[in-house]
Symmetry: C2
């Protein structure tokens, strides 16, 4: 936006910092931050703490006390509907704000632009920066809007030559300690962390955020079982303080196999009595109905391949360890699915060195025309 | 080095820039650059153009005319032996130079430190920066010293899930145009560019630097044939201006199969009459005897895996395209070898975005203890 000054940019960045404080807590709402500036000075700041509490703009206006003639910087377009709280667009106009600078528009096609229209109708000057940072802050929310399944990120770790282990069924810690810390941090941003049953059997992960991160809503752990159950003594099933009971996704046609888990876990039976294999799209819908808006799936190769093949993956986090594991029995990073015919492409938006590893991340979508040049 | 000033650093960097002008031309000598500074001003510059011509220090001293009391910055320790040219250590002392600042020491264990000792014995002050940039400039030379095989870099391209193609025998242009330009630039720095026979059959590459880069010595193309020959009409075999005839590495026991190539190519038969499979270590020694000090191997998966398994690879260039190719018939990036038991690890020194792709590069060596944490 040509009309934004360097100072505008700084205040907008500050609204993004504030928004980020809500990471992990605001679901099903997005993270939002707001800054009230009068006569060049910040007089109010706020962010959305969690669903049901005040919106960022309302918090910032309350702190400012008098916002007459002020400019308000807000990471996301102010809401325009009276929900659990009054519409922020009206609250801003009521407070006498002269100008509103918005990081990105509301991604919901049903309400997009409504806040801007209301503000302008009431004589408030509005500018929209359409920043990548602002869009990234609401990526999980934006992709879950108007869909019946969660936003799903798939995190895999592989050797430079594409394998997770040189021998099936053997746990191989490919990645460095820094990478494992990186993943635990990632978990904070997602409503749920999920693995397939095979990973529970081989790696026996806890799936927890360690050290514990202050969070206003329960962490949720999910174990997706294709057909067979896992041991009730698995660490992913065991009770952990601050965590809700682990959700186990199981095919309804194999109900009796999961009796062992019903004391400790919350088993969601998916499909009907004829379903002996887990229907992944239906399982994701079941999670959405339980209020899970975003899922970080950490493998293994079978569920990873099946989730991609089913078109359920929105983002990849791909950790590459600087080792070579190729053997005749090595297990490739994705398995059990024909992915080439999907012609999907990753729009890479981040390549990081994490300790000795490289982590590539991007969104998954259809190949653009001429893209793969096959 | 604490004793180097910011100005020393700048002049040393300049010597590296000059050295880089020799890339592709100096083999079997390393690239070297030199700068003569008197009273704070550059009075002479030089670099080594090619084997048999003057060394960098001699060129720079000649340009300076009077180097009495000067400081000379040189990317590599001055040579101490009279070879095709007089010893540079003596030439510097003879010129009355007061101080020599060196990027990195001579990597040859037989001569390492000799230049420094001669200079100091003649009253010249010497400092050694031991810079990563200086070491990188001579990496190919340093690794080939005192060995009977070339420095070998393996360049592979794969999908994010570790495959080169979704179907065997099908050419799949995984990587972006920028990445293909990047590889052609890489070729400039190597004495020879090599592929396996399978790549010639499927991709039919030219293996040339395009657009042509000014070079003082012939480019060399190499085709390694495990057992069977390739078509004499392959583009890698066809005559190209400024290129020596393509070297074909073939097992001596399958001599009659390679008659088709002897008109256009220079066929090197490796091993004895019982050898029906190419002995790769022996083939690399044959290249070294032909004056090939560095090789860039661009695949395919079979020769790549076999070169690594044979311990012949010094550096990897790993291009990762943001696509997923997994199918039941997909060809993994490395094949036909057990690499896990080698326990080799890549010391990554570069991660680059190249167009839509990511290129990871590093040196290959034994895993350090506790490194892989398997």
């Amino acid at each position: 936006m040509e009309t934004l000054s360097a100072l505008d940019r700084l205040f907008l960045e500050r609204s993004y910092e504030l928004a980020a404080r809500g990471i992990g807590n605001t679901s099903p709402n997005p993270q939002v931050g707001a800054v009230v500036v009068r006569d060049g000075a910040i007089v109010g700041e706020g962010y959305h703490h969690r669903a049901g509490l005040a919106h960022a703009e309302v918090v910032a206006l309350a702190q400012a006390q008098d916002a007459t003639g002020a400019t308000v910087y807000v990471s996301l377009e102010p809401c325009n509907h009276v929900g659990r709280t009054p519409a922020c667009s009206q609250a801003l106009a009521d407070a006498g704000v002269a100008r509103v600078v918005i990081g990105t528009l509301d991604p919901n096609p049903r309400t997009n632009g409504g806040g801007v229209a209301t503000l302008r109708a009431r004589g408030v000057q509005v500018e929209v920066a359409n920043d990548a940072t602002a869009r990234a802050l609401i990526e999980r929310f934006a992709r879950a809007v108007d869909r019946d399944r969660p936003y799903l990120a798939l995190k895999m770790a592989m050797s430079l030559d594409g394998y997770v282990t040189s021998q099936p069924g053997v746990q191989e810690w490919l990645t460095c300690e820094e990478e494992r810390l990186y993943v635990r941090e990632l978990r904070i941003a997602y409503d749920a962390v999920m693995v397939g049953a095979g990973t529970v059997r081989v790696d026996d992960p806890q799936l927890t955020v360690r050290p514990a991160h202050h969070r206003l809503r329960d962490y949720v752990r999910v174990v997706a079982c294709e057909s067979d159950t896992v041991s009730e003594t698995s660490r992913a099933i065991a009770h952990v303080a601050d965590y809700a009971p682990t959700l186990v996704l199981a095919p309804a046609g194999a109900r009796e196999r999961f009796e062992n888990l019903r004391r400790d876990a919350d088993v969601l039976f998916v499909g009907d009595a004829t379903a002996t294999q887990l229907d992944l799209p239906e399982a994701m819908r079941a999670l959405a109905r339980r209020g899970v808006q975003s899922v970080l799936c950490e493998g293994g190769p079978t569920i990873g391949g099946r989730l991609i093949a089913a078109g359920l993956v929105d983002r990849l986090y791909w950790a590459i360890a600087p080792v070579l594991l190729r053997t005749d029995t090595a297990v490739p990073v994705l398995a059990g699915a024909d992915l080439a015919s999907l012609r999907q492409r990753v729009a890479i938006d981040s390549v990081e060195r994490v300790g000795d590893d490289v982590v590539i991340s991007g969104t998954l979508g259809p190949a653009h025309s001429g893209g793969t040049d096959v």
